[in-house]
Amino acid sequence: MAEALIFLLNVLVVTYLCWRVLRADKARRSGKSASLGYLAYKDDAKR
C-alpha cells in the first residue's frame, strides 16, 4: 500500500512539473511572468 502511494506521489509530482513547465512557457510567450509554482528554484543561495 505504502509502495503504491509513493509511486502515485512520484508520478503526480512529475505530472505537476510538466504542467507547470507547459504553463510557464505559454506565459512567457505572451509576455507574462512565469513560475514553476511549488517546484520553482530560488536565486543564488548566499555562501
Binding site: I6, L17, C18, D44, A45
Partner: protein
C-alpha cells in the same frame, strides 16, 4: 489499480509532450531512469514508455517544433563523447561473432547516449536544468526512496536487491546509483524555493542513504565514504560540511543493522572471499581480452560469454591468480575492466578522458563564475554536485559493471551546457562593456 493510474498519467503526459518538446524530453529522462513498467503488473506494464517519449522528443526536435531550441555544443567534451560512441558502435559491429550479448547491449547503449546527445538541444536555461534535475531525482530516486522506506518499516531487516531488468539490476548497482544521487538531492534542497520541497529533498537524501545501508553493498559503503570525504575536502565551509558528514555518519552507525556491519567487516578479508575472488577472475579475463584486441575489445559484456571466458581464463597476465574451475563467466565487476574488455584499451582511454573532462569543465565553470557580472553561485554549486556524483561513480564503479550508465553521460553533458551558458554571459558582459566605453568616448568627443 496502479495500471489505471499510470494509464491516466500517460493520457495526461501525451498531449503535454506533443505541445512542448521539452516536456517530452523530461518524460524521456524520467521513464528511462524510473523504468515504470517494473512497478506495474497489468496492461500498462507492456507500454513502451521510453520509446514513445524519446520518439516524441526527437521527432519534435527534427521537425523544428521545440521552443527555445539549443544547438549542438562543439567542444572537447562533446567531441570525446562522439568519439567514444563511434568507437563503441564500431567495436560492436566488428565484435566477436560468438558474442550474442552485443545486439541487446548496443541498443541499450545507443538509447542512453541519445539522451546525452539530445540534452544540449533541450537544456537551454537555468530553469530547464533545474527541472531536469528534479526529474532525474524523481525518476531514479524513487527506487531508493521505496527501499529506504522499507528498511525503516522492517526495522533494518529489508534486503535491497536492485531493480531487475533495469540499469541498476542488483544490490551493488542500486547502492552506487543511490550514492550518485545524494549530491543532487542536496543541490535541489539548497536551491528549491518552497520549504516543503526542500524538506522533501532532504527526506529523499536520508531514504537513499538507508537504501544503501539496506543493500549490504561493500562497494556502496566505499562510494558513500569517499563521497563524504571528497565533499568535506572540496567544501569551502569546512566546519559546516564536517558537521553535516558527522551527522550522516552518526545516522549510518545508529540505523545500520548488525548484518550490515558484518558484511562491511569482510572488506578486510577480501582475499579469502569467493565473491571478491570471482571479481578478480573477471578482471583477469577482461585484461586478456583487451591484450588480444587492444583497439576494439571483445564487444559489449564480453566477459559474460562462456566461450570468450573459457578462451582467456588461463592466459597469464599481471593479475597473478589461478581461476578455479567453479568460477565461470561473469560480469566484469568494475567499470574500468568492463570498458577495457568490451572496447579495448582505446575505448578505455576515451572513457577515462571523458570522465577527466568533467573535472576540467568544473574547473572552467568555477573560473567563469568569477568572471561574470551577475551572481552564478548556482552554476558553481551544480558543477560541484555533479562532480561529487561522478567521484562516487568512479570510486564505487571500481567494483561494479556500470560503465555505460546513462546518468553519467547526461551529467557530463550537463556540465558542458552550464559552461556554455556562462561563456555566453561573459561574452555579453564584454559587449556591454565595449558599448559603454564607446558611448563614453563619443560623449567626450
Amino acid at each position: 489499480m496502479r495500471d489505471l493510474v499510470m494509464f491516466g498519467m500517460v493520457l495526461a503526459w501525451l498531449p503535454m509532450a506533443f505541445m512542448n518538446g521539452f516536456v517530452a524530453f523530461l518524460l524521456w529522462i524520467y521513464t528511462t531512469l524510473m523504468s515504470p513498467q517494473l512497478y506495474l503488473y497489468g496492461f500498462m506494464s507492456g507500454f513502451r514508455y521510453v520509446f514513445v517519449f524519446a520518439g516524441l522528443a526527437l521527432g519534435l526536435l527534427l521537425l523544428g517544433r521545440v521552443q527555445d531550441r539549443g544547438a549542438f555544443i562543439k567542444d572537447k567534451t562533446m567531441v570525446l563523447l562522439l568519439l567514444f560512441i563511434a568507437h563503441a558502435v564500431t567495436s560492436a559491429a566488428i565484435a566477436w561473432s560468438s558474442n550474442p550479448l552485443v545486439p541487446f547491449r548496443l541498443e541499450v547503449f545507443i538509447k542512453g547516449m541519445a539522451l546525452a546527445l539530445a540534452a544540449p538541444y533541450f537544456l537551454t536555461s537555468r530553469e530547464r536544468i533545474h527541472v531536469a534535475l528534479i526529474v532525474i531525482v524523481a525518476g531514479l530516486g524513487i527506487h531508493g526512496v521505496l527501499d529506504g522506506a522499507k528498511v525503516i518499516a522492517s526495522g533494518g531487516g529489508h534486503n535491497v536487491r536492485g531493480i531487475p531488468g533495469a540499469s541498476l539490476g542488483d544490490n551493488n548497482l542500486l547502492a552506487l546509483g543511490m550514492v550518485m544521487l545524494l549530491p543532487l538531492w542536496l543541490y535541489l534542497a539548497k536551491y528549491s524555493a518552497n520549504r516543503w520541497v526542500k524538506w522533501g529533498c532532504l527526506g529523499g537524501f536520508a531514504l537513499c542513504v538507508l537504501a544503501v545501508l539496506g543493500s549490504n553493498s561493500r562497494g556502496g559503503f566505499l562510494a558513500l565514504s569517499i563521497l563524504g570525504l571528497w565533499y568535506w575536502l572540496t567544501s569551502p565551509r569546512k566546519l559546516v560540511s564536517a558537521i553535516f558528514v558527522a551527522i550522516v555518519a552518526t545516522g549510518v552507525v545508529h540505523f545500520a543493522p548488525d548484518r550490515w556491519f558484518d558484511r562491511i567487516a569482510t572488506i578486510k578479508e577480501a582475499g579469502d572471499d569467493q565473491s571478491f575472488m570471482g571479481r578478480v577472475a573477471a578482471w583477469k579475463v577482461s585484461v586478456n581480452i583487451a591484450n588480444d584486441h587492444p583497439l576494439f575489445g571483445g564487444g559489449f559484456e564480453a566477459s559474460q560469454v562462456g566461450a570468450i571466458w573459457d578462451q582467456y581464463k588461463n592466459t597469464p597476465n599481471f593479475i597473478d591468480i589461478e581461476i578455479p574451475s567453479d568460477i565461470s563467466y561473469k560480469a566484469a565487476h568494475s567499470n574500468y575492466f568492463q570498458v577495457m574488455g568490451d572496447l579495448g584499451y582505446l575505448g578505455l582511454f576515451l572513457y577515462l578522458s571523458l570522465l577527466a573532462s568533467a573535472y576540467v569543465t568544473r574547473w572552467q565553470i568555477n573560473d567563469l563564475v568569477k568572471r561574470t557580472s551577475s551572481s552564478n553561485t548556482w552554476a558553481s554549486d551544480l558543477s560541484t554536485a555533479i562532480t561529487l556524483s561522478l567521484v562516487a561513480y568512479m570510486a564505487g564503479g571500481a567494483g561494479v559493471s556500470l560503465g555505460y550508465f546513462e546518468l553519467v553521460y547526461l551529467q557530463i553533458v550537463m556540465l558542458t551546457i552550464v559552461r556554455q551558458m556562462l561563456l555566453r554571459q561573459v561574452e555579453q558582459d564584454k559587449d556591454v562593456l565595449i558599448q559603454a566605453s564607446n558611448r563614453a568616448g563619443a560623449q567626450r568627443a
